[in-house]
Amino acid sequence: MRTKTIGVFYDGISSLSQEIELIFNQDKSAFTFESQNKESNYWELTSVGFDKKGKALHLYHGNNPIQIIKITDSHFIANLNNFRTKNGHLGFYYKLLNLGIKFHLGIALFIFGVIGLCYVYIIPWVAEKSVVLIPDTYDDTLGNTFFEQNTFLDSIDVNKTKALNIFAKELNLKNTKKLKFTVIDSDIMNAFALPDGSIVVYTGILDSMKSYDELVGLLGHEVAHVNNRHSMKMLCRNLSGYLFVSTILGDVNGIMAVLGENANTLQSLSFSREFEKEADIEGFKIVTLNKINPKGMSTLFKRLQKESVIAIPEFLSSHPVTEERIRYIDKLIKTESFHSKENPELKRLFEEIKK
């Protein structure tokens, strides 16, 4: 079977358009036509490239030069498309492209969904697990960098620092690395742990304490951050989350990247809450292990909640004390069995710190 149409031919030598009669021979799967210089041409279907341009179809042939035939005859184009579809000449790319906008929107939503799931569940999990691969020494470097960058250490209270270190030595803190306690003279009601095992406690929070079991509760919580490498985990999660978001969306456009970054910040806030809870539970265990009354922890939290806590840089794990955390500790106190007894040595040291 043969079909004919009028097309415009560009010979790849000049930009002059040549009107030609194009014949498609279905039996031979080939096009034939005669160009204006009376040369006859034979193009095998498989050697021809096709490109739809609006209503027109462009046929490409050859490599150097590339010759082109433009056809606009919709009947001829439809026949040709049918023939190519029937004989499996359409590439998978065009099959996907021909599925239409609704299908494409569907794919887009699906990809977004998968990316979302990866981001919320898989990436943080992988990042956290991969913390094991980062050597401990890096935690130390990170902690040291923080110390070097912050001049607040000028106001170290040397005596209280010494006393607090002795106090901590009396306790079994289940620590894996050497801990170093520092007391800073400041009204701030806070304390924080650095990844290298440095734990900084402000006099503001110490002064507010009524009993040594509160201090043990605080130390237990901070040490749990160090023991579990929370800073490093947080860093890995944030970083990988950020990398993931910017890799996927950065390519799309700037605005999406900005939206992504903000989403990442929100996400990291919830990570931080999760780590706080873990530190509370571990801290509770440390308290009971040392036969200290965990009610001190609860008392401390309640007091902290009343005072507004000034936030400390996020990755250093600040402690917004929420209702939820207090409820959680109170529940642990009720459900867990523990034995506590008066520890005169700790009491004495606590008095010294309070001086």
Binding site: S14, G54, P65, V252
Partner: protein, 319 residues
């Protein structure tokens, strides 16, 4: 051109791409790139460029991009190796406790790669672009361009960036003057001094107007690019003229931002096609070159390494 002869040809440059079609291409590309863990990227890029070029037309005939995923993939691999070597050297010197030497070599390497990437990118893109089967071409000399480029960078550094305007215009002139469209030559008349004044004015007015002037600045820059560009052949000429306006850019940007925000990014394809439509439909061509008489003169060039390196460095193709 005072004598408006009756046989003076008319020209029309247009972009007709539809957001729906572009969206389909972006999504299919995205899907295939994710499924293949990124390996499909060069093919995706080829498809995207084929679409964008193909939707741009001159006097009703579309431009064509003939680059293939395979060519770009080869270039992509070479670009990856190149960067691995560069970073490898850096880490080797850090390991050898000579980080400063490593860094210097690293930056020098980058500096050398930059002009080579631009050169390679132009040669590849131009050779793979055609209109009515007539190829474009880039005839710049690699060595000459590299040496000039390094000289311009050096001057920019020692003048604390002031020479940057001259560097931009010199680079642009060199690249554009070496472009051929068959036997038609491109020409660019820009001057670094004018460009410097233009930017200075744009910068201060933008600050004074709390950023509003930026669209008019953008318009000036675009105009400076287009209005100084012309095509020449045997004493005949086509002059380009921009008809964009600051208000037009302003509207374009605002609507694009709204589209992208309210569709949570899904509308990117529509924003992109709107932008291209605005730009191409606002370039006027006037002159007396007969577009039916262009002859094929430029050779084929299929090495996409420069183009892929430029892609890595996030260089915009149009300088």
């Amino acid at each position: 051109m005072e004598n408006t002869l009756q046989n003076n040809p008319s020209y029309k440059l247009e972009f007709q791409g539809k957001g729906n079609d572009f969206f389909g291409i972006i999504i299919v590309n995205w899907l295939l790139t994710i499924i293949t863990l990124g390996i499909y990227y060069p093919w995706a890029k080829a498809k995207k460029l084929q679409f964008l070029y193909g939707e741009t037309s001159l006097n009703g005939d579309a431009f064509e991009f003939h680059g293939t995923g395979k060519e770009m993939f080869k270039g992509f691999v070479k670009a990856v190796v190149l960067f691995l070597v560069l970073y490898g050297l850096l880490f080797l010197f850090i390991y050898l406790k000579a980080p400063v030497v490593g860094l210097i070599l690293f930056y020098l390497g980058f500096l050398a790669i930059l002009p080579l990437a631009i050169h390679g990118s132009y040669r590849y893109r131009m050779s793979r672009t055609s209109w009515r089967g007539i190829r474009f071409g880039y005839r710049g000399d690699k060595k000459e361009f590299t040496l000039n480029f390094i000289k311009w960078i050096f001057l920019t550094i020692i003048t604390l960036g002031i020479y940057g305007s001259w560097m931009s215009i010199n680079t642009r002139s060199y690249l554009l003057k070496n472009i051929r469209f068959g036997n038609i030559e491109f020409n660019y008349d820009g001057d670094g001094g004018d460009y410097f004044v233009l930017n200075l004015k744009g910068y201060f007015l933008t600050i004074i107007t709390f950023g509003i002037y930026i669209f008019w600045w953008e318009k000036d820059l675009f105009e400076y690019y287009i209005d100084n560009l012309s095509l020449n052949h045997n004493g005949k000429e086509i002059a380009l003229n921009s008809t964009v306006t600051g208000g037009g850019f302003f509207k374009l940007a605002i609507v694009n931002i709204l589209i992208i925000i309210f569709t949570l990014g899904f509308g990117y394809a529509w924003a992109a096609t709107r932008t291209l439509k605005y730009i191409f439909n606002n370039i006027e061509l006037k002159g007396n070159i007969d577009l039916d008489s262009i002859q094929q003169t430029e050779e084929n060039f299929k090495d996409a390494t420069g183009d892929d390196v430029s892609d890595f460095l996030d260089l915009d193709f149009v300088m």
